[in-house]
């Protein structure tokens, strides 16, 4: 495997923060600076999902490593790019955060703690109170379909260990569109342990959710995810999932 110079080349406990970003020039600098102020040693990788604004330039100027996608791949496609980069550079842990400033960098350590202590392979920073009642109903519906016991299945604030990185970097995970149920189902099928850590989240200051941007997008998302859940019925359901530590 060819190597790219990265902070991950330096040690066993290395980790990077991956931020998928599309047209986030207004917030990306604040997010990167917020991370750097608390975790100056962390490598921040911004995956620019074919933005039409200056997201890539702003992120680079703020000190992030920028991976620019030539095609718009969506949120998961961008995150997977960061995960593949992490695998290539030998990183042991990947933390994913949104580019809109909702996630607090101060909780990165809390997020990776269960991985460092060997309690989990994947950690989700959960904040179920942040969403509307309608979205909570949607989560309940997906929990019912999949048997997942997790509270916040759409949170983009996550940490993956090396075992999860290897699985999620594979071609098997390349046709997923969102970093939620599809990713969790693959991880469950492979027998990885996922836990949730309660974290506070801020309010989105700009832009809109990619999933909940319009009723049409929501309907499409619900239909696609339902089909994905139904297609996976019984797949790895016996594997144990933990919640809320």
């Amino acid at each position: 495997m060819s190597q790219i110079s990265s902070i991950c080349d330096s040690g066993q406990d290395s980790h990077i923060i991956v931020i998928p970003a599309r047209d986030e020039e207004k917030t990306i600098r604040t997010v990167i600076e917020g991370i750097k102020s608390i975790h100056p040693q962390e490598e921040v990788v911004v995956v620019d999902d074919a933005s039409t604004d200056a997201t890539a330039a702003v992120a680079q100027a703020a000190g992030a490593k920028v991976l620019s996608l030539a095609l718009r791949l969506g949120a998961w496609g961008a995150i997977q790019t960061g995960i593949r980069y992490a695998l290539e550079t030998g990183c042991q842990t990947v933390i994913t955060m949104d580019a809109d400033g909702q996630h607090e960098p101060a909780y990165v350590n809390a997020l990776i703690q269960p991985i460092l202590t060997g309690q989990a392979d994947v950690v989700i920073g959960a904040c179920p109170d942040r969403v509307s009642r309608a979205r909570r109903y949607a989560w309940s519906y997906f929990r019912l379909l999949t048997g997942l016991k997790l509270e916040d299945i759409t949170s983009g604030f996550r940490a993956y260990n090396f075992a999860a990185i290897k699985i999620l970097a594979s071609a098997e995970a390349s046709l997923i569109d969102y970093q939620d149920v599809g990713v969790l189902l693959i991880l469950r099928r492979k027998g990885l342990r996922t836990v949730e850590v309660q974290v506070p989240m801020g309010i989105r200051t700009t832009g809109v959710s990619r999933v909940f941007s319009s009723w049409w997008v929501v309907a499409n998302y619900m239909l696609q995810t339902s089909l994905l859940c139904i297609a996976r019925v019984g797949s790895g359901k016996l594997l144990k999932f933990h919640r809320n530590i």
């Binding site: 495997m1 060819s2 190597q3 790219i4 110079s5 995956v47 490593k65 920028v66 991976l67 620019s68 996608l69 030539a70 095609l71 791949l73 496609g77 997977q80 790019t81 593949r84 980069y85 290539e88 071609a171 390349s174 046709l175």
Partner: protein, 126 residues
Amino acid sequence: MVTYQLTSTLIGLGIAISILLLVRRDHMRGTYAVWWLCAATIALLLGIFPKVFDKWAASLGVGYPPVLALVLGLGLILIKMLTMDLERSHQERKIRRLAQRLAILEARPQMSDADAAGVDNDTEAL
């Protein structure tokens, strides 16, 4: 008077010739060309011998033979559409991984000879 057999033969011949011309002009990849050449042969044979359907329909208990032809034709079209979507999904996966790979390669500050050699090997990892 134009007979039913002549009409079906002409239709079968037209379809077969069109497909053969497209294959001959390299407008289609090998795998697809094989499918369509088979389709052309079947269209031609059934065009020349339309009575075959009468026999098949009788043996399968279908009262009106043209219905059998339509159902079989629709079934084959559905199979073809299914394989097309499978192929499209396969290509979509490859395109996504290619775009990701490109983004990672572009992020390299400088590519050494060793890295350049690695790129060739990386194509397997797409």
